[in-house]
Subunit: 418 residues, 2 copies
């Protein structure tokens, strides 16, 4: 991708009310744009990160048998009345579609997926299964001040699983836990994200959050350094300030961002919608359900919160907008220009994703500052001076060491980075 | 994909109010589910088609330089007041987010993309460019009776282009026309889709629709068989019932579905939002815009309207849920089961997408009927009888001829089909 053709630019004029560091970096870099509180546009480079995160999540959901569907955001009031949430859910956007029809704007999809599943479940032979979708959610957050960490509109992956008995639900729940670990690990959050015990509601002792330790977090967790698990604030008193796994009491309080949540719904929604199956004895039993959510923009913003420095973002390779930021300097020099263009072609031919700063009229300093702000994993500088010496300057965003390589060695070097 | 693990089933109980043939086929086959009038869930096999259409559109938009972004559905009232459409647009969903804030649910995105572009356009050097996004649109259609052809919630690809002068807009508009032709052609609608002259509004003589001839169409077009273009009903009197290209008057009236629309907006929206640029002489000029839309579910449903028979859907290869429907019969026979499983593995190893009907307890007739309903391009039957004779029965959905092939020849045969 050529930076000269990108329609966005970096910006120094940020909305005054934007206090979230990840949002400020995204807005400065032109990765995102703010439309109103809690509502953002993803611009080309931010959207590339978003799509990579989406693809990682999709692959991991498919790896645990999730079948992808696409449910609507417009949801009939009747469904929400069946669970009592039409009245009780304060973040629910309600709208009217003509005089006789009221509609909810989906903040979540239990009210849709449960009756949908009911159309296809008759007997134990139809169980278990899991469906997921990746779609916009709408939540009328009163205080949407945390940038992309808590949007009023955001894309969520929600997986729902359906089971005949508790053992089957438990088994799947453990598989989902592992897939969540893989997702956060592939997105670069493996080391700072903790399985966190949370309130289980009526049907199980605990639910689980995945909490990423960060000063930007709105949550407090209590971390057991021995077990690498945590307890959220809500239930810390219930567990008597001790680790639910090893029982020890030396827990460390940390601010954290909830990047995922998994929950055994049990028969809560099946009961509301009459979702039953007949077991091997021919008896009707309620279907047991689990739900498993990840907000995509929140995950993206959390990666920034945990991967940046004062100069800008530092993207993990798997979700970076591109692997390489190729900066061409001295483009008014014909030889330098030709060499840089050839490098760009060679990288593309080698199927290495590259953002090519081919803009004329910017100083080296400006290009370096933008490269640091954008935070692509590897910066390659092609200048008249280094090219004349038969060298390229190569630097990883995550460290300060600069290598000098012959152009012919670049691709092998980059492939060795992953 | 194994049919035994798919959570959906075919259905004979269709909503009584569903009169659209494409919707009825999608619902019967379990490719989609109806939540309420004009609001549908895409189920696994329908979603696969949807994703393939999305990918074709994405590739074609990128091929004409479109930069992909993702704009919000929640849109501030202020933006819609600037164009006067807060009041005038009757299909606009309006909702309130607290006492002081009214919000539109985006039926289109000119009101968002124009001020967004304005943030990055200063001079002629910043032009031209084009951005697109693929996102849910919401339209409060009073009569949503045409199934997925006219939804109240649907995914749309909308591309917006920005230009310094009319010649540049004209040039891009012609490129967009060609990319639209490629999209419809790749989706199997090339032969029955016509560039159709429509009203141009204040800034150009004509806009253009792409109309697919079909009895399910809500529009009337007047087709010039010589030029293979058409005129829509709205302007047929203005053009004096003659072809705008060759002038002849023997036009054929046809029912048609509008699958795409391209429009030169000129300075309509730039004026409303003060979107200007300074030209080479340093003078401020309004930016000229074009917009280019395709509704994805409508396109999907149109393919069914034009590609089905009384037995079911007939998918074009490029957007079929899978290339091959492998039906295994006599699975209670161990040898037959082993052979079918091996075939399934071999097809997957060869990276041929296959839907494997590995369900036990269904008759051959039931499996054949479902294969016809689903409409995958090629049906392969592995039965104890044919396998014992060292043969597979292979049939294209689009014709009646049956071939008998040795299993070892299947993959070469299938590759030859594309």
């Amino acid at each position: 991708m050529r930076q000269s053709t990108l329609f966005v630019k970096t910006s120094k004029n940020l909305p005054k009310d934007e206090i979230s560091e990840s949002a400020r970096l995204l807005l400065r870099a032109g990765f995102a744009d703010k439309l109103m509180a809690g509502v953002y546009t993803l611009l080309p480079l931010g959207f590339k990160v978003f799509k990579k995160i989406e693809q990682i999540i999709r692959e991991e959901m498919e790896s645990i048998g999730g079948q992808e569907i696409f449910m609507p955001a417009l949801q009939p009031k009747e469904n929400w009345e069946k669970t009592g949430r039409w009245q009780s859910l304060d973040i629910l956007f309600r709208l009217s579609a003509g005089e006789s029809r009221e509609i909810a704007l989906g903040p979540t999809h239990e009210e849709i997926v449960t009756p949908l599943a009911g159309r296809f479940i008759k007997s134990y032979r139809d169980l278990p299964f899991a469906v997921f979708h990746i779609q916009n959610k709408f939540r009328n957050e009163k205080r949407a001040k945390s940038g992309l960490l808590r949007g009023r509109e955001f894309v969520m992956k929600d997986l729902y699983s359906f089971h005949a008995d508790q053992a089957d639900l438990d088994g799947y729940y453990e598989k989902a836990k592992l897939s969540y670990r893989r997702i956060f690990s592939r997105c670069g959050l493996g080391d700072c994200t903790y399985l966190t015990y949370a309130s289980g509601g009526s049907f199980s002792k605990y639910s689980h959050e995945f909490q990423t330790v960060s000063p930007a977090g709105e949550d407090l967790i209590y971390l057991c350094p021995k077990c690498s698990v945590a307890v959220n604030k809500e239930i810390i008193a219930d567990v008597k300030h001790s680790c639910p796994q090893c029982g020890q009491k030396d827990l460390i309080e940390e601010k954290a961002i909830e990047v995922g949540n998994i929950f055994q719904l049990g028969s809560k929604f099946s009961t509301a919608f009459g979702l039953k199956f007949s077991n091997e004895q021919g008896e009707n039993r309620p279907v047991l359900m689990g739900c498993y959510g990840i907000g995509l923009q929140r995950l993206l913003a959390t990666v920034i919160e945990t991967h940046h420095d004062q100069k800008g973002m530092i993207w993990p390779a798997a979700i970076a907008p591109a692997a390489v930021h190729l900066l061409a300097l001295n483009l008014e020099n014909e030889d330098a220009k030709k060499s840089a263009e050839k490098l760009y072609r060679d990288l593309r031919t080698a199927r290495i994703e590259v953002l090519f700063d081919d803009r004329i009229g910017l100083s080296a300093g400006e290009k370096f500052a933008e490269a640091d702000l954008f935070g692509l994993p590897c910066r390659v500088v092609a200048s008249a001076r280094t090219l004349a010496a038969g060298k390229l300057e190569v630097k990883k965003r995550s460290d300060n060491k600069t290598d000098f390589l012959a152009p012919a060695d670049l691709i092998a070097f980059l492939r060795g980075q992953n």
